[in-house]
């Protein structure tokens, strides 16, 4: 059974203007998040993803639909009981939201105090967590003495203090530079692997999804417009909006403007060949072209690795007799997707 299961979940706010229709932030979303997943939710700002994640730990009440966490319906639970549920769900934030008046140690200890742990338990657990995130030497520091990456590591340690099964990450790397982002993502991967914590990660950056997520949902206008395995969504997005996200990290078929530039600089026919792991090897494609006596040049594209599986799009400028090109492409087309660049 799924660890988190959303069925037809809608969240709307009363409109700021009197009499106007309510603002729908999350619109009939259904998702299943399995235990052990790293589930990415991507969308532009205002797509409703931050609201969605706040429905999962009931920081915001759901307007309609049901959410179950660990088999318990949280949408009908009274606030007092929800506090118990929240102890089982960790959360980290874009702005870290550390307590500036407390030391690193006291920040990590806080959820344990809320949970009613004993002093000895707290000390032991905090030591363990600070060692895990590599900040043992910063225990007595205050958050304003730390770098952004260190702050987020404290945030992660704090979120894991009560050993939750689920960790919600709300744009957890968006305020960090690319290098620190990778560090934090590596740490989250370890959290997932070593502790088996299920992670829901909200982001607007596709490379975050690429480097950490196993499943992804694309949100637009409060709705989930596409969801599935990261590899599938990356290698063949079905929705234009998903395709736009994918194109931020994957060089796909050149846009008309890019195609015009390519055409200016290269002779011959421009053709994009899309590879998917296992379907066809690049070598076979290149061999077909060479055997047909065609001259070709790689002008655009890239090969990506998602969770150990490769896929990509290569645009070639092929020179030779038209008939020879057609027959070669027909042969390749039987095995890989071939798109003529218009």
């Amino acid at each position: 059974m799924a660890l988190v299961s959303l069925t037809d979940v809608t969240k709307s706010y009363p409109s700021p203007e009197k009499g106007a229709a309510p603002v729908v932030a999350v619109d009939s979303v259904s998702l299943e998040i399995e235990a052990g997943d790293v589930y990415g939710i991507i969308g532009y700002s205002g797509a409703g993803k931050s609201t969605l994640v706040r429905l999962i730990n009931a920081l915001e009440p759901t307007t309609s639909g049901t959410i179950e966490v660990g088999g318990r319906a949280i949408t009908t639970m009274p606030e007092r009981e929800l506090r118990g549920i929240r102890l089982e769900i960790g959360m980290i934030f874009q702005q870290f939201n550390l307590f500036n008046s407390k030391t690193v140690r006291a920040n990590v200890a806080y959820p344990l105090q809320v949970a009613g742990a004993s002093k000895a338990e707290i000390t032991a657990r905090v030591d363990e967590l600070l060692a895990f995130v590599g900040l043992t030497d910063k225990a007595r520091s205050y958050p304003d003495q730390l770098s952004g990456g260190q702050k987020q590591r404290v945030g992660i340690a704090r979120a894991l203090a009560t050993s939750p099964r689920l960790l919600l990450a709300d744009e957890a790397t968006s305020a960090l530079d690319p290098e620190t982002t990778q560090e934090v993502l590596e740490l989250l991967k370890r959290v997932n692997r070593e502790f088996g914590v299920t992670i829901v990660i909200i982001t607007h950056e596709m490379d975050v999804i690429q480097s950490i997520a196993t499943k992804v949902a694309v949100m637009d206008g409060g709705r989930v417009i596409e969801s599935g395995d990261v590899f599938d969504v990356f290698s063949s997005p079905r929705n234009p909006s998903s395709a736009r996200f994918v194109s931020t990290v994957v060089k796909g078929i050149p846009s008309p403007a890019e195609a015009a530039v390519l055409r200016d600089r290269h002779d011959g026919r421009l053709v994009t060949i899309s590879f998917r792991d296992g379907d066809v090897s690049q070598a076979a494609v290149f061999l077909d072209l060479a055997n047909a006596g065609l001259e070709f040049e790689l002008v655009y594209g890239g090969i990506n690795d998602i969770q150990g599986r490769a896929f990509g799009h290569l645009t070639l400028a092929i020179r030779g007799a038209d008939a020879a090109i057609d027959s070669a492409l027909a042969k390749i087309g039987a095995r890989a997707e071939v798109t003529e660049v218009a």
């Binding site: 730990n57 920081l59 007092r80 506090r83 118990g84 549920i85 929240r86 102890l87 769900i89 960790g90 959360m91 934030f93 702005q95 939201n97 550390l98 307590f99 500036n100 008046s101 407390k102 806080y110 959820p111 105090q113 809320v114 949970a115 205050y142 304003d144 704090r158 009560t162 919600l168």
Partner: protein, 219 residues
């Protein structure tokens, strides 16, 4: 100058009276102001214990009393003062009036400073399963402590100012001293002696407040 030396003991008594009035008011008014400020903060729409009726009532009551000029307020609460502390005149009546008036002003300062605590930090505490009272006690108040200390320092300076009109209800202090022995007896040296001591008090208070706030905020 000679006159000031003749008045020596009265001068120091007046100084002690000012300190007494300020200290007691800061304690009583400060406490009520803190409570009122916390009520304003927590019941405000969208806050920890959001409660619109309570917020509106407290808000209106504070707005009703706040604009009353203090010298008139002293006279207006005199009957109440007689009822509660048994006297309508003197330093204690002054403290009574000042405590009420200042708690309304202080409640606004407390409210403002609590509002500076980032909503994100409160959300983080909620996400960890903390309830509203715990969040107020362990997150909001500690996070706002630095600004609160500066706020109370401001209040303390304002109280020194307000005690100067204690003479109006037969109270003492440096204000009454300066008016009685300086202004009315054409002794500018006496007036200025009171002024300088008040300035010294205020400087010391501000210095102490800044130091404490810096220590709390570690900058």
């Amino acid at each position: 100058m000679d006159r000031l030396f003749e008045l020596g003991s009265e001068f120091w008594v007046a100084a002690a009276e000012t300190l007494y009035m300020v200290a007691l008011t800061l304690l009583v008014g400060g406490l009520f102001g803190l409570l009122l400020g916390i009520v304003l903060y927590t019941t405000r729409p969208g806050s920890l214990l959001s409660n619109k009726p309570v917020f509106n009532i407290v808000n209106v009551v504070i707005n009703f009393f706040r604009p009353i000029p203090f010298i008139i307020f002293i006279a207006a609460v005199q009957p109440l003062s007689r009822l509660v502390i048994g006297t309508g005149i003197g330093n204690d009546a002054m403290i009574f009036a000042l405590s009420i008036a200042s708690s309304f002003a202080i409640s606004r300062i407390v409210e403002q400073n609590l509002l500076t605590v980032s909503p994100g930090v409160i959300e983080a505490a909620r996400a960890m399963g903390a309830g509203p009272i715990r969040i107020l006690r362990t997150v909001v108040l500690p996070e706002a402590l630095g600004p609160l200390i500066l706020g109370y320092t401001f209040v303390l300076v304002a109280l020194v100012d307000m005690t100067a009109v204690a003479g109006a209800v037969g109270g003492g202090g440096l204000g009454a001293f300066a008016l009685t022995y300086g202004y009315r007896q054409f002794e500018p040296v006496v007036t200025w002696a009171a002024v300088i001591l008040i300035v010294v008090f205020v400087q010391l208070a501000q210095f102490l407040g800044n130091w404490l706030a810096r220590k709390v905020m570690r900058r």
